[in-house]
Structures are given as structure tokens and as C-alpha cells.
Symmetry: D2
């Protein structure tokens, strides 16, 4: 079976495994206080052009979202997100489990706009009895979104401006951040991200690492006691070096961006190939997730050899599905997939 259903089907980039082997016998302090974590933090701060940032390493995305949001909000506040936001739909109510409502905004493409945030905020505060409703307390977006789309620099600037005007910390879920940064139509750099939001994370799990997400806190007001929060929410890895070594390897010489680029190349190869065969797409994605609309007959045939994710029924005979590429995707597999689909037409 050749797997395209997600972007975490292989292990880790070979240089990471190599580095784990080389450092295996070193003795280090636990909980992220080791030299590898220290170096990784330095590399990341440099890449973000943010020397004053705090950088923490956590294990996975749901845990990271929970920890960051729990650290920011007071009990009566909620987090604004797109209806399709990961925290709104695919984290088994992790945000509610720590006490907060996800205040959803409708979105066709996975993005929310500054104007929407403004309207929701104004509506809350113009209510005659706002204390009967959840107070908007922060904004969560994903870059790229769950639909593969990316925010442009100007879209982020508008959002950031609204958030700062209204005192709403802006949190960017970067589980697939690398894939967004190197997309062909992206005009957003890592330093831009760091400048425009209050806290974000750089996903490792889906881009070369075995696991691991690097949280970057820019806003000084959000830095206090964050390690307590990580520990309480179960994310303070005893052998923190495992995360440090991985991010050290990914960021010491640009490996993170290089392998992100490979995934994008593979995604564009797939997109181009399918477009040429006449397929349309549910979303205009320029990143590693592609959502072609394919006839159920072809999908049925493909499923004997390939995996993909069901996304939604488009009509009685067609379905939008998700194919993911990643740092590990082999070009020959994309080519074979395209040929097989062509043969099925």
C-alpha cells in the first residue's frame, strides 16, 4: 500500500536518526534543560529574527494547542477560530476539556478575516449583557490551514492589527508551518510570522521529525510560568533532548525549509498532473495537502493500491479526497499515482 492519507506515514529524516545515534550516550539534564535544546532554541530564535522570544518544545499538536490556550485565557474567555479549525473539530474537545469555548467563525477556505474577528468582538461588547456570553479572549489560526490554503502577508497584517487593537493575542498553529512558508505563492517569512503574532508553533511531526512542536512566544506578557503549563498538561518530556536534537538538526542549516520544499514540489507535481487530466479541486491549495474531486469509481479502484483521506461527498458519484505529500514522499510514487489515475479515466 502506498500511503497518501496524511503527512506522517514515515519515520524521521535520516539526519535526525543519525544525530540521535551520535548523541545517544551523552548524559544530559532532563526536561529540556540540556545543551541540544539550548542550541535548538538559539537556531529557531535566529530563524525567527526574534532574539527575545521564548522557545519551548512539546510533543504533539493537540497538547500544544491545549497548553498555549490554557496559559492565555481566563475562565470566562473563549478562543476565536474558523469552524474548520483543528481545535474546533479534531481534538476531541481538548479545548473544552480545559474549560474554554471555541468561538467559531464561518470559513469557506479555512481562513478567517480580520473583519470577521472585528464583527464578533464588536457584537459581544455591544450586547446589553455581555457577561451572559463567552468573552472573546484570543484568536487561533492555522498556517497553512486545514484546507491547505495559506494566509498572505497582508491578510496576516490585517488580522494582527485587529487583534492588537482589541487586545486579543493571536496564536498561529504551525503544525505544517514549513509547507506554508515555502509554498510558491507565499509572501510570508518566518520572521513575518514572529512579528505579526503573539505566539505560534513550528511543527516538527509532519516535517521531518519523529514528533515535536516548537512553541515560540513573542509577547512578553504570555511568557510567564509557561513551563508550569507544559508540565501540567503533560508535555514536559523527561528526555527533552529528544526534541532538542530533532529541532537542532532541522534548524542548524535550513534542513527544515529544504525538506518542506520537497513536499511542495511533490504536491505541485500531483496538482499539475491531476489538473492536466481535467480534475478540479475542492480548495485552491498551494501546500502539501491536495483535495481533488474524483469519481467514486476511480477512487474505489485506487484504494486497492493507495491510501487517501475521505473529505466530503461532492455529488452522488464524486468525492473530494485528500492526498498529502511530505518531506518523505517519493517522486516515483506520485508519478505512478498519476499514471494509474490516467489509466482509470
Amino acid at each position: 500500500m502506498i500511503r497518501f492519507e496524511c503527512d506522517y506515514t514515515e519515520g524521521a529524516h535520516e539526519r535526525i536518526l543519525q544525530r540521535l545515534l551520535e548523541t545517544n550516550e551523552e548524559q544530559t539534564p532532563g526536561y529540556g534543560m540540556d545543551d541540544h535544546c539550548e542550541k535548538a532554541r538559539a537556531y529557531i530564535k535566529k530563524a525567527c529574527d526574534s532574539e527575545n522570544a521564548d522557545v519551548h518544545f512539546l510533543v504533539g499538536g493537540t497538547q500544544t494547542n491545549t497548553t498555549v490556550i490554557s496559559s492565555i485565557l481566563r475562565p470566562h474567555q473563549g478562543v476565536i477560530a474558523a469552524t474548520s479549525g483543528h481545535i474546533a473539530v479534531h481534538e476531541t474537545g481538548a479545548i473544552e476539556a480545559i474549560g474554554h469555548k471555541v468561538l467559531t467563525l464561518p470559513s469557506e477556505d479555512g481562513k478567517i478575516r480580520g473583519e470577521q474577528v472585528k464583527e464578533l468582538y464588536d457584537a459581544h461588547w455591544s450586547d446589553s449583557a455581555p457577561e451572559h456570553c463567552v468573552q472573546p479572549g484570543m484568536v487561533y489560526i492555522s498556517q497553512p490551514t486545514e484546507n491547505g490554503t495559506i494566509y498572505s502577508r497582508s491578510e496576516l497584517e490585517v488580522l494582527s492589527k485587529v487583534c492588537r487593537e482589541y487586545g486579543l493575542p493571536l496564536f498561529i498553529d504551525g503544525a505544517r508551518l514549513g509547507y506554508g512558508l515555502v509554498a510558491e505563492d507565499s509572501d510570508v517569512s518566518l520572521a513575518d510570522i514572529a512579528m505579526l503574532c503573539d505566539v505560534f508553533y513550528i511543527g516538527g511531526t509532519k516535517i521531518g521529525a519523529m514528533m515535536g512542536e516548537a512553541v515560540v512566544i513573542l509577547n512578553d506578557a504570555l511568557k510567564k510560568d509557561f513551563r508550569y503549563m507544559i508540565k501540567q498538561k503533560g508535555g514536559l518530556l523527561a528526555k527533552g533532548r529528544m526534541l532538542g536534537i530533532q529541532f537542532e538538526t532541522l534548524f542548524e542549516d535550513g534542513l527544515y525549509f529544504e525538506i518542506s520544499k520537497h513536499a511542495i514540489d511533490m504536491a505541485m507535481l500531483l496538482q499539475k498532473g491531476l489538473s492536466e487530466q481535467g480534475f478540479s479541486f475542492l480548495y485552491h491549495s498551494t501546500t502539501n495537502q491536495q483535495f481533488p474531486i474524483i469519481s467514486d469509481r476511480i477512487l474505489q479502484a485506487l484504494s486497492e493500491k493507495y491510501t487517501y483521506s475521505f473529505w466530503e461527498k461532492v455529488d452522488d458519484t464524486h468525492t473530494a479526497v485528500r492526498f498529502c505529500t511530505s518531506w518523505a514522499t517519493k517522486k516515483e510514487n506520485i508519478e505512478m499515482l498519476l499514471q494509474d489515475i490516467k489509466a482509470l479515466q
Copy 2:
């Protein structure tokens, strides 16, 4: 610096790293649904002599405790534990953060007795208005305890009997379980553990793995929807295979027990050497954590070359400290430590 302050100072057992390399390019489904996890589950169930058990892999101890306890208790119930229990003191209130009180029982050696549980339970239910107090809902113990001591088979049997009589699920935190199972004075097998409790976990992080804890659920009533709980609490690793491969390696041919035994040998070497030099110990530990009482003068001198954990002041000039051995401890380091201490006397 030679490190003895904890049992997670090195990376992972080399056979684990080797296996990660060998399997790295395999494509697998995510979230623990891969063949490696499946094999690891089978090995563990066999080692526990419990074919009907459910086995789940989580990343770390605090996360595992939180997930298990959250899954079992209703909101008005608390978990009984020793005052020194990990959940009572060293998890930043993770149990309270999910809504539950830790009902502590005093303990000199880290263990709680069946009789204590019985008394607490009876006291609750003999109150004229028990609904004003937290209802005892389950029992948490650690094997070995945070003090390095171990429960004997008969002690566990008594606890288990009380728990079953009173309908209190018994949960064993086995973060260092291997070290308890192979201790020289242990009369408890993995199958005994599985037979006497309702749910427990086998610690990987401190015994050869990079990270990972294997939860084993014996009581059918506690199995339902456990994967939802793992996901919500942030423990469902996308590349679940990383945990599966590690436990597969540790349990396919007894590596877990073999390397546990090495740690115990090293601990006994240290204990014997210190005893011969006239040192006494805070607790009678037969496992990998040793708590010698040493003069502050010697400790001060040692700290230039070795790390250890402060435990508690014993008198004005002496301190109980913790030295940990592990699967990775080198015999020459123990010998050097003993010589250095001797030279400082």
C-alpha cells in the same frame, strides 16, 4: 559531569535506535494503528498473561496518569494516593486540573496499606453528610514507589482485595515498573500485577526507551472509549509507531527485564559500597533509586564531578540525596563514585 540525579540522562537503548533506523522508511497508518504497535501489544499481553487486556501507548507519565484517572472518575470523586505519590506532589496539579482531588494517605516509605484505604473509605461513608466531601473513587499506587520501595505480593493482595470489595479501581503507576519487578527481594511478577489491579502502566522512558508508557487495562469496565481520552489529553502520538517500535523491541525477547536487571545490579553495587563505608539510607530501597545520607562537606565536594538530587535535610550537617542508576549506568562510574566518596571521608 557524571549524572546520577535521575534515570533518564541518556538516550535510548541501542537496539531501539537500530530498529528505528531499520523501519524508518516503512509507511504506516498513524495514531497507533500500525503493525508495530499491534505486535508490541501482543508481546505485552503475553508478558502479562492477560490476553483480554487492552494495551495503549502514551508518551509520558504525567500524561498517562491524567488520562487514566480522568477516564475512571466521576466529577465528585477523588483518587486515593500516598502523600508522597507522584500525582500528589510532582505533576503541577495535573490531577486537579482535570477536576479531581488527590485524597492523600500518610506514608513513611511511599507505600499505602489496604487498612488505610479501608479506614478512609469507611470514614467517608460513615459521615452523616458524605456528599459534602469528595468521594473516594479509585486508588493510585506506584510500583516501585517514589522512595524506591516495593510492594510485596501479599501487600498488593490485601490492597487489591479492599479495592475490589469497595468498588475502587486500583491503578498502578509503573513508571519504573521493570526496576521493581527484578529487584532481588521482589516476589511480584508482571502477571501478578495484571491480576491484582484494574489498570497499570509499564514505563518505557526510564527503562531503555526514548519516551513512552504502555497502559494495560484489565478491567473491562474501564476499557470503553479510552482512545478518546488519550486524544483529548494530548497523548495520541501521530507517529504512534515510534512508541510501538520501542515497546516491540523491549518486549519481544525480554530486553526490558534484562536492562532493568542491569540497573538493579548497579544500584546494589552502590548500596553495598556505601553501606560498607558506613553510610545509612533514608529509605530501605532495593530498586534503582538510592537515598544515602551524606555529610554536606562530602556532597559539596562530589558536586563538582557528579550530579545527584537533593532529597531532604537530615540534620544540620547531613543531607539525604538521591542517586539513580538505570539501564544505561556504567559500572566504572559507580566504582569511581564509591572511590571518590571513600577518599573524601
Copy 3:
């Protein structure tokens, strides 16, 4: 100012105050264990034709919803409700604060249908990885709804059937239950409510009492330890008799229904009057909340003498507002209001 903005603008029915005076010097045990609570429970069980029900008295609606829902759900479960449900919009995230997501279903009239519940449930369980999503765990409806509409007996039967088939406890928020039971087009009795749901409450605050809601638990599986939940969530009134005496008075000889009927008569008088003057209504409400659409010019003029609630803008010059009647509404005030509106036309 003559107030119509809600149904809790006056104190309590005079017979309740009279009874409080008469019983004031009695000495009673606390926390709802007194004879008045006992009698009130008996009256309510009889009115519900449910001798085996458990009846508990709480102080307010949000507290009651929180307590009931917290008592029923496991941590990974959510409660299904209409998007306009009180728990979804007007309780400051109280449900999320106890850890649960409100799974909303769209609704034009405030009601949800059995078919919608079925679809949501089926969609969850047909997902390839349901454990990444909140599991539907119970259903919450309001009778009458927040829009003044009422469920018919057959609608409740369909909902009830779906809920029982799927193992979803059905909880009815009866903050205004009396007004629903005596509405002219209602074919649902209190005994029907008790037969068709698992737990519901009879609102006192809005129907004659100073405060107080009577929770009626029908499903045996939901009865256990409910008093612990009340205490933990802050609803176990020390002088529980205050609630008992009020419900005793309301239910010993049908006062609850009698005064509910008065509110409905007043609402129908208002509705008929406005209809005759040519006004239309946002919802077809047959209960004590009426939502006429009125020109902003008239509303502006009215606001100098009357209060009402803003509901929503209908167009540039018209607004839907809410006028509430209650057990305490004076007929002359309705008549004056109608005359004043007429004069403004």
C-alpha cells in the same frame, strides 16, 4: 417604567411569601432534608405521575444545567443542543467550563428534530477515526424553547425514541415549563414529559418563585450521587427549605399551572392585539415570550415608558423585540401597551 423585557421582574407569588412568613420560625435540618422539601418532592412526583423519580431543588438555571450535564457525561462526550439553546449561547461557557463541548444543531424555531440527532450521531460513528472528535453523549432541549415555541407530543416522542435507541440521555430544560404545558396548542402533559425524557427540571424562578428549579430524574442510571454534584457545583442551599416551601406552595394544589395560565392569557392578549394592528412576529410563539417585529420609530417612542428586549434587526427600519408576560403581568398594562402602540402607528 413598565417592564416586559423578561419574566422575572417581580418578586414572588404572594402565597409563597405568606408561607415563608408562616414557617419562618420552624427549625429544620439544612440542605434540603427538611419536611417542606419532602412534601414538595411528593407533590411533584405525583404531578409527574412518577413515584420512582428523584427530585432535587437547585437555585437557578445555569447552575442546574451545569450540574445535570456534568453528572451525566464522561470527559470526551458533548451535549447536543440547538444553536439557540440557552447552554449554547447565554451561560458564559458554563458547560465548557465543566469540560464539555456543546454540539450544536441548526434550528430556525429553537427546536431540534429527532432526525437531526440521528444524523449527527451517525456521522460521528461513521467517521473513520471518531476518537478525534467529541462523542455525542446526551441531548438537551428546552420546553418551551428560547424562541417561545413548543414541542408537540409527537415531536418529543420521535426525539425520545432516537435518544433511547442511541443511548443518549434526553434532558429537558424547563425553566419556563409551566408556560409550555398550559399553552393553548400544547398536547404535552407533565406526565408525558416525565415519560419521554431521562431528566428535566421544572422552573420556579420564572413562574411564581423567588428562585428555584426542581430537577426530576427519571432514569435510574442517572440518580447516583446527584447530591454530591449539587454540592460541588454550588447549588446545595444551606436553607434548602426556602426552595422546598416554594415548590410545596406551587404544587400542593395546582398554583403552578394556574399562574402559568395567566401568563399565557396575557401573552395571547398581546399577540392578538398586535396582530390586529397588523404586526407580524419573528417566531410563532404560543407561550409567554412574544417576538413582534416593530418599526424602530415606534420602539424608540415606547422605550420611554416600557422595557422590552432587543432580539434582532429585521431590516433597516424594523427590529424584532421580545415582550415577556409572566404570572405577575397585569392586564391593564398589556391593554395600555396595545393602546400606546396603536396611538404611535
Copy 4:
């Protein structure tokens, strides 16, 4: 049966009921925005000599403790309290249910000392890895304590000084505050309380009201959005006037203090009578709760005519019990109780 087991066995002070009757037909806005609440706030602020305080009315003690503590702490913080503190033992884990650990300090008399707080705080921050433990975030005390004892002005000053030095808000549970303020040996005024703490509440339930607690927030930093917290935690009474009218009556001309004094007089009468008969007391209480140690034979006989609370067994044949007086206690009942005990000697 003559009841002494608690201080909430009767209804409300007759002037309160009278006022409820007089105001019953007034129409007022809901949720504490009415004139009676406004007046009550003004009276209380004046009595506290704190014009800038925020005053809010809640229904009961557990609810108030939960709301205040939830509003102050961040998720990783706990509240320091005596082991006998109400929040530590008699609120069914309400504080844990909102996510926080109660950090208990041992106490013989129910009071905690500034020095204890200092030690606990210093111990936390001198730990090498404090983030593994719950961070002390505020201090909770009761005045009078659960044992009937009271803090002196100098004891409060020391506590207050430590709290301010360490940035720990000091919260005083005044469920029985009146009884502490008018105790014969009290040197603490309401204005002192207001000056020395950050937030406290004035208990109504146990001193003349049907129910109700008035929260007084002195520290500006703790005022923000408190009404959201009240609503979320279920304490925002729809007919808030019911609370306002009661506190208006209690504070407009000193009724609160006057009836508190009556309870103290009755308690002293009981204490003196029992002392003269040779009984000793478990605690040296100068307030309305008295804890005499009485032979089980006498207690058994008394229980046919009187109620009291079991407190603790003192030896095989004696028990410490609690007798409470209140604003409603009749002198003849105290006298009869003393005579009956004497006759049983």
C-alpha cells in the same frame, strides 16, 4: 426537637421578610442591576469604609469560594488554606473541580500564620524545579474559622504583609463574619478586614438572611470581568433583588451587627454555663460555634430532645460536639439545654 447542629435552622429575620413583602410588586431589572442591590452595595461600602470596592451578591458559600478563586488563579496555581479550611474539606472538591489544588497548612485552631505561608512560598521557589509543583497563587482564610476561633488584628496584619510582599491575594471567607466581628475579644473591624485583604465576603445565610453572600473586592486587579465569573459559575441570580433587599435590610442601620451580637450573647451563655458545670472545650471559641467535650452517656440522652453536630471522638467515652447559636437562637432554649445537661450529670 430543638436544633443546635448548625446556624441555619430558621428562616430569615422578620424585617427581611417584611421588606420582601413591601417590595414584592415592584418591577426591577434582573441580575443584580436593580436599585435595592445598588443601595445594599452603598451601605456595605460605607460599612467597610471602602468607597472604591466592588460589591457583588452571590447565593451561597461554596459557590462564592469557587467563583472568587476561579477568578484569581491561573491554571498552574493553587490556593493556600488550613487543613481544616472549608474549601479543603467540605465543598465536595469544588475547588479541584475548577482546576486548582488546595495547598494545605497544618493548623490546630483553624488559623494559619504568616510564617507558615512564608515557609510554603519559600519552599516552592527554592525548589530546583518548581514548575513540577503547584505554584502558590493566593491565600484563603476564614474569619471566624471553622473552629470558631478568630484572627486578631495583628495576626491579620502579619498575614496581609506576607501576602502583599509575595504577591499572593488574600481572600477571607466571611460566611460567619458578623459573629467574628462582634465577638467579645475581637479587635478587628469590618474596615480593618477591607484594608487588610484583597477580597472577602460577608455571609448572609448564617446571619439573618434566607441566603446570600456579599463579595467585596478591594484589589483593583481582581475586579475585572467578575460578573462573567458569577454567571459562569451559576451564581448570577435572575431575581438579584432578592439578595439586594436582604443585604439592604441587614446593612442600612446595623441590623447585621445587632443580630450577630445576639448570637454571641447566646454562645457565651452556653459556654459559661457549661464551664461552670465543669465541661472543657475542644477549641477556645469566642464565637457562635461552641465545641464542648461531653460524655457519650449524656449526649445520648440529649439527642432525644436536641440536635448538635458530631465533631470528633476524644476518648472512649467522650466526644467533642458542636453546638451553634445564631441570630435566631432563643434564650430559653439555651437555658433549658443547660438545665437538662445539669440534670444528666
